[in-house]
Structures are given as C-alpha cells and as structure tokens.
C-alpha cells in the first residue's frame, strides 16, 4: 500500500464546506430555543447603578432582560473566572465576573436580552438604559502606571497584571566590551484575529441539570473545566461540543460567549443561542497585546549579538486573561533563535480600562520578534555585514540545549536560511544598487523565528493530548480526539496518520465529532501543538489497536505475531501469499465469536520539538507617498515532516498574510478620551484583501524530529512571527529608513523617510 502520510490529499470536510452543508454554531437550532444578545458598557470604568429594562422588556418577542444588578443578588455564588480557562493543574485565579456591577472597559457585558428571534433580541438590546457612576479611567499603560492612578483590581497594586524578569550573564560587562551598542524604542499595535465567523454559543440544560454547550472554541476540555468551575458543578455535568469552526487564531483559546449562554439557559430553562455582532467580536474577545519595548543590543564586530537588554511594557486590557502566558513567551522569544550569552529581559503587563488582550496566533512572539529582528539589521548595516550572514553565524543549532528538554534533536534552521535565500535569489537582490531616481525604491529584507511544538517541557506546565482508535466490526475505524480543527486541516492530517499507523485505507478512517463526553482529554488547539501532540496520541492509539488485532489474528491463524502484517486493510502472513485475510473478517469474528472489540488508546508524554522559519520580503516604497507595496514574500519553514504538504503550506501562507496585516495595516484603536474602540467594524479595521499582496511562496523544509508523529513538528504559528520585521528590514534596505512602529502606514514611512532625508522632494 502506498502510504498516505506525505500525500496532499484533499481535506475530508471540503465538500461539505463547498456545498454549504457544513454546520457552524450559528446554524444550529434546538426545540424551544431562544435567542440572546448582550448589552455592553459604554463607559470604560464605572459602577453600574441601575439597569432600566422596562422598555426593552415590553417589546414584541422579548422574553426577558437579565441585568447585572439583579444577578448579583440572585446568584451570589457564581465563581469568578479567568477567560483564559487554564486547566486545573495550572490553577485558576479569576478576576472576572459574569455581568459584574463594576465595569472596567467599554464593551463589558452588563445585561442580556432574551427573545424569540435574534432580530428581536438585537433590536431590544439597543433599548436597555444603564445608569453608571463613573470612576476615573486609565486608558493606556502610561496612565495606568502613573503615580496615584486608580487601581483596577484589588490584588494588583500599580496595575501590574504580570511582571517577569530573566537575567543571564554579566550584561554590563558584555555591553561595554561590545563592538557596537544600539538602543531603540519599538511600538507594536493591538491586532485582532478577525476570524470570519462571529463569536457564538448555544447552551442547553437537561432535566438532570447537565449543561451542553456548542461553540467555536479551541479547547473543549478547558472550556468544560472552566464552566464547571464557574457554576460549581462536577465535570460530568458539562459537555462541550465543537461544530465546524469559522477560523479562530487564538480568539477561542478560552471562554467567550459560553458562560453567558449557559447562565441564560439556566435562568430561562430553555436552550439559548447567544451571538456576538462583529463589533462585539472586536471589543468583547481577546486581541493581541500592544507593546512598547526599549531594546539595547550589543554586537560583536561580525554583527552577532553578545548581549540584549529588553524591557517590554504590554497592555493587558481590563482583565488578566492570557497575560501571564503571553509575558513568558515574549521574554523567551528574545532568546529563541540565537545564541546570546548575556541577557536582561523584563516584561511588565499592565491593566488598563481597555478591552482584554490575550491569545492570538504567535502569542507574544511577534511582539518580541519585531524589535529583535529589526535591531539585527540595524547592527549588521552599521558593521557592514550581510544580515543573513549575521543570523547564520549566531543561530541555534542541533545539540544546543533547548527549553529544559535537552539538546535540539532536529535542526532545519540552516536549510531554511540557505534554501530560502537561494529560492529568493537573496544575494543578487541584496546587491542591487537602489535606483537613486524615481519615486519607487526596491529593497529586500529577511527575518527569522524559532518556535516550539506545544508548551511541554517547562516545569509545572501540563501539555497533554489523548486519542482513541476503535475498530468497527466491518474494519472501518473511528478516531476520537478533542483536537480542534479551526480550519487548519488537522482532522484530515490526523486521519492520514491513523491510516498509515494502523494499516488501513484513508477512506476507512472516520474522525469522530469533538464532544467532551466521548473524546479523551486534551488541552487545546494553541501553541502550534495540535498536529504534533494529537498526532503522537493518534499514532500510539493506532499502533495499540493494530497490536491487538494482530495478536488476536496470530492466535486464530496459529502463526507467530511477528509473521503478521496489517496493510491496506489486509492481514498478511509474511512469505505466505495465499494466507491473507481482510481486516473486517478478523474484527467481525473477534466481536461475534469472542466478544472482543479492538480499542486503542494513546496519550502524549513530555516532549517538544523546535521549529524554525526564515521569511524573505521584497518591497517597493513610494518615497513621495510612503506607500509600501509588497512585491514578494517567501517563507522557508522547518515543519519536520509534511504529513499533508498542501495543508501545511496553507498554514504558512495564511500565517504570512496575517503577518502582512500586522506589518502594514492592522491597529485596533482605543480612543484616548472615551475608551471606545474606534474601528471595531470591518469597514474601519483594515485586514488584508486579495489586492494587498501577491501569493506568498512557501518552501517546506523537512527535518524530522524523532519525537514527532512521522517526524512532524508544529506549523500553525511560525509563519506569522517574522513577517513584520522581514518587511521592515526590506523597507530599511530600500530606503535607509528604520521603521520602529507597526503598522508601517504610509504616514509613518514618510515620517521615517524625512528623518533620513530620503523622501522625494517634488
């Protein structure tokens, strides 16, 4: 049988999606279901004194208006929560309450309207009047850290949500011995996932009090734990199901609409579908932390880094959410791709009265990568070294210690750099003299990142996926994992792994629906872990089932276990061509004659694998307008093994495109006076369109990691991390202008050109 691992088979669910038959959460209905919409605060910091629901409640089709004031008296026992929904092992300190009577950002839910139809709920929600007692608001990190600033949370003096410090080596000595020391301030924006499916949840409570929730979340088991926690019930009373998911990119890496839908279902004794508008999705779900970073870098004469000092100030928004994790990743990313002996790294994550920031593809990586990678180019230019050469000299490599997990076992970094450079024609393009006349300046730049495959390997961090592989009587196969397919192609890729590991054709493998009642535990689709971790679990579970089948067959056929093989759904006796049996004959016989079902289980152990990416960008800069046109973007990424080359290349292309948005367009702006989000609509928040960039090129580097399923490593996030600095470095090469703030809008590029004296004077 030809293996399916490594084949670009079409996704299992593509036909359902192409014909409009794939069902997303908003498409689901239950008998007696009601529709809900939330009413959100228009004040950044206030006590809710009174909610006047009379007009709204009297509207046609409206069933109830639920308010924070009423809830606090009725349900004093609802537990505080953290929307990050960390699993139990990591502890769950919560600073957020459902319908709190003190609101801390514009957009925080204060009431809900329940109605017969969504249109009725939408309309009535506009009619709820809320009376606030305003409190002083801190709308950015500077105001939040100022002397005497109001404190958002009792347990957080100085509004520090998180403060992390990591020091290695003698930084002062290293800096004073450096050939060149540079210092710069960098600013990164608040970026929104802007997945196309608006946030939604459907909740139902049965006669026994068991809660079932359908939602486009990335971590069904963590959502289940968090809901059990909030409502004070055991885990088996909560069931979380994933319908098809319309993109997520971190947005669903925790609680969004789920606890509100559950609460309303409990209150109304009816199923509740709660939908967010696009504006609510922008303000009411996590964004990427905006940051300000002061970076000092010491270079040797060959442009390698000898020392780094970075102080990052990140905006957590109003609640903790993922801030602890994001801060840790930011710190780690400064040292991820290169050997740097001395470092002094500090991250302060600050509460402000703005929408919550948290998990977004890259999770702290882009905020560290942009300053670091642009700084390398600034240093290399001063020292007259090719920036690709500087990176090649100092890159981490096979054998280096990596994340408390021992030496790096697979290293495709060098191939990413060299293969990418060759395909991009780096040396030739880099050596071009920029045309001194004419408004367009052409230049090329590159940047790198190293990333993990999951979060396993840090002390105290739990990273687990489980899988079941069950054989039906006819030899077809059910695979149960809770690994969410956010549109990533994960389910198809896992089916390919199961087919080869078990020895059956791909069309005999079915991926069970994700349902916490059925699918084994797993921590969620984040940190580029899904294929790597669920793939390990599926491979082990399939091998376990295969062993059971062959042991049974060996006893029935009276041959040695070692002489049997299972391939393409056929059980063969090695060297005896006539003695084949179909898998279905064996599975049926086992069930009927011996009451045996073959049921494999697999789970992960502590393991992680490093991934590497190098990105190359070519830009044209119009020096009279500051307009940047991206001419070419190439991603060379070490994926370990491309289980499905089309799917993994699609991940790299999509990630790069979001990176382009981060570099050039995207910035969710909060008004400095009112705390309102100014551009929380697709009309105003600019995501890249089909006109904004050419098709990005992808080179898949396959350097298998011994720990990965068939050698595969994580692949979802690396491609978004170095895009912004690669483009910034190309602008720098084209014009000599150093861009230290994202997004690199025409206004900012023009200002930077003016600073270099290189704008075109008309």
């Amino acid at each position: 049988m030809s293996p399916v691992v490594g084949q670009p088979v079409p996704r299992l669910e593509s036909e359902a999606k192409a014909t409009g038959r794939a069902r997303y959460t908003a498409d689901l209905s239950l008998p007696r279901m009601l529709h809900a919409r939330l009413v959100r605060s228009q004040h950044p910091h206030a006590n809710v004194l009174k909610v006047d629901s009379e007009v709204a409640a009297s509207q046609l089709g409206v069933r109830a208006v639920v308010t924070s004031v009423e809830l606090t008296s009725k349900y004093p026992l609802l537990h505080a929560f953290n929307s990050a929904a960390a699993h139990a092992v990591e502890g769950r300190s919560g600073d957020q309450k459902l319908f709190d009577t003190r609101v801390r950002y514009v957009g925080e839910p204060v009431a809900a309207v329940v109605a017969d139809t969504d249109a009725h709920a939408r309309r009535a929600a506009q009619l709820v009047e809320v009376e606030y007692q305003d409190l002083p608001a801190v709308l950015d990190t500077v105001a939040a850290c100022a002397e005497g600033a109001i404190q958002l949370h009792a347990g957080a003096p100085g509004n520090f949500a998180q403060h992390l410090v990591r020091r290695t080596g003698d930084i002062d000595a290293a800096l004073s011995s450096a050939a060149l020391v540079l210092e710069e301030q960098f600013v990164t924006p608040r970026q929104k996932q802007a997945q196309l499916e608006p946030t939604c949840a459907l909740a139902d409570v049965d006669a026994d009090g068991k809660i079932t929730v359908w939602s486009p979340n990335q971590a069904p088991h963590r959502i289940r734990e968090a809901l059990a926690d909030i409502f004070g019930i055991p885990l088996h009373k909560v069931r979380v199901i994933n319908p098809f998911i319309g993109g997520s990119f971190g947005k669903g890496d925790g609680l969004t609409a789920e606890p509100y839908a559950v609460l309303l279902a409990l209150l109304m004794h009816r199923p509740i579908k709660l939908q967010f508008s696009r504006y609510e999705d922008f303000v009411g779900t996590d964004a990427r932390h905006p940051t300000r970073t002061r970076l000092t870098a010491g270079f040797r004469a060959d442009a390698t880094l000898v020392a780094l000092r970075a102080h990052v100030i990140a905006d957590a928004g109003a609640y903790l959410g993922h801030s602890e994790g994001v801060a840790a990743v930011m710190i780690r990313q400064f040292l991820a791709p290169y050997r740097i002996d001395c470092a002094d790294l500090e991250a302060s994550v600050i509460y402000t009265n703005t929408p919550v920031t948290g998990s977004f593809r890259g999770y702290g990586g882009p905020q560290a990568c942009f300053p670091l990678e642009h700084m390398i180019d600034l240093g290399a230019a001063r020292l007259g070294v090719d920036p690709l050469e500087a990176r090649s000299r100092m890159r981490i490599r096979k054998g280096d210690a990596w994340r408390e997990l021992g030496p790096i076992a697979s290293d495709g970094f060098g191939t990413c750099l060299q293969g990418g450079a060759a395909a991009f024609d780096w040396n030739k393009k880099r050596a071009r003299t920029p045309a001194e006349t004419g408004p367009k300046r052409i230049g090329v730049g590159m940047a790198c990142a190293s990333w993990g495959s999951g979060v396993s390997g840090r002390p105290g961090v739990f990273d687990y996926s489980g899988a079941h592989v069950r054989l039906n009587a006819d030899g077809s196969v059910e695979v149960a994992t809770a690994g969410c397919d956010l549109g990533t192609g994960l389910r198809t890729t896992l089916a390919q792994i199961c087919a080869d590991a078990l020895g059956v054709p791909l069309d005999m493998v079915h991926m069970s629906e994700i349902d916490t009642d059925i699918t084994p535990y797993e921590i969620g689709a984040h940190a580029s872990r899904s294929l790597y971790r669920n793939g390990q679990a599926v491979q082990i579970a399939a091998a376990h089932a295969r062993r059971q089948v062959l042991e049974y067959a060996a006893s029935k056929f009276e041959v040695a276990f070692e002489d049997l093989d299972l391939t393409n759904g056929q059980i063969l006796v090695r060297g005896v061509p006539g003695r084949a049996s179909s898998l279905s004959e064996v599975t049926r016989r086992a069930l009927v004659e011996d009451h045996i079902e073959f049921y494999g289980h697999g789970g992960t152990r502590v393991a992680n694998a490093p991934t590497f990416v190098a990105q190359f960008a070519e830009v044209a800069v119009d020096s009279s307008t500051g307009q940047v046109t991206l001419l070419r973007l190439l991603t060379a990424q070490d994926v370990g093994r491309a289980i499905n080359p089309d799917i993994v290349a699609g991940q790299a292309q999509g990630a790069a495109h979001q990176g382009i948005g981060y570099a050039l367009y995207e910035d969710l702006q909060v008004d400095g006076e009112t705390g309102s989000v100014l551009n929380g609509l697709f009309m105003d928040y600019r995501v890249p369109t089909s006109m904004d960039a050419p098709t990005s090129e992808v080179i898949l580097v396959e350097e298998p990691d011994p720990s990965g399923p068939f050698g595969a490593k994580g692949a979802g996030e690396p491609g978004i991390i170095p895009t912004a600095p690669a483009i910034a470095n190309a602008i720098f090469h084209a014009t000599g202008a150093s861009m230290t703030q994202l997004p690199m809008t025409p206004e900012r590029v023009l200002a930077a050109l003016r600073a270099t004296g290189r704008e075109m004077v008309k």
Partner: protein
C-alpha cells in the same frame, strides 16, 4: 407588516410571507433554512453572505427579502447540478482554497458572478473581483488558483 414574496430560489418557485424589514440573509437562513449563506459582519463589508440575484452578486445582509420579489436568487446550495459539483466547487476543493470554510460560500458566489461575465479572467481580474470578500485563513493565493483552474475547465468543456 407582512408581505407576500414570490421568487425563484435555487431554481424553485417560492411563495412566502415575509416581514417587511427582514433582511435577505435572515430570510434565507431562518425561513428557507439555506444555512450555507453565512453572516460575517451584517454591515456589507466582509462578503461572506454574497448571493446572486438575477445573476448579479448581492450582499444579502444589505438587501431586504421583500426586494427580491419577482427575482431569481442563487445561493451556494443551488450551485451544484444534480449529483455533480460546479467546477468552481471542485476547483476550490482540489486547490486547497478552503480552510475554515466560513467565507467559502461568498467566495464561490462572487467567483461565479465573475466567470459568468468574464469566462477567462486574468489573475488581476480575479483579485479585483474578490477584493470585497475577506478571507482570514488562506492568504487568497489558493483561492485565486482555484478560480483560474475552474475557468480553464469551464472554458474547455465542449458545448
């Protein structure tokens, strides 16, 4: 107020009573149970809810159901022929142009409107035609490939 609506929807004559302010997307999804038309923004920007009305692409969140009285409406459910996928659907599947799939229905309908008018579009024409359909997963490259590939197949079909 309720109005009577008579329209051809995916080739079938439909007589329905609609509320005068009901949006076409809500009518298609809630009354006709055509759930393949997705709603991404309800402000006419993302293109997710695109359907064809008398052959022209329309944002079904910007149009009232009552406005399609007497018209012919095509949604993604009506794209495939009996038992066979439309060449665009096949091309989207084969080119890997579908990731999360939420934008796919709108992309397919906008692409159909393009190919009906320009059977052999250039890459630039495709990019321009799809500029109002947001996709956050693919980076558009494979979507453009799919439309190019479908155009070749439709064009080379005899008859």
């Amino acid at each position: 107020m309720s109005l009577q609506l008579v329209a051809m929807i995916n080739g079938e004559r439909v007589v329905a009573s609609v509320v005068d302010d009901q949006l076409l997307c809500d009518f298609l999804r809630d009354e006709m149970e055509l759930l393949g038309t997705h709603v991404g923004c309800l402000e006419g920007v993302c293109g997710t809810c695109t359907v064809l009305v008398d052959g022209r692409q329309v944002r079904s969140c910007l149009v009232l159901a009552a406005q399609v009285d007497g018209c012919s409406v095509l949604t993604v459910e009506g794209l495939a022929g009996r038992g066979s996928l439309h060449p665009l659907q096949r091309a989207f599947i084969e080119s890997g142009a579908i990731q999360c799939g939420f934008c796919t229905s709108g992309m397919l309908m906008a692409s159909k409107a393009l190919l009906d008018e320009y059977p052999v579009p250039t890459e630039q024409q495709i990019r321009e035609a799809l500029a109002g359909n947001l996709c956050r997963c693919t980076g558009y490259g494979k979507v453009v490939d799919a439309v190019l590939s479908a155009a070749t197949k439709i064009e080379s079909k005899p008859g």
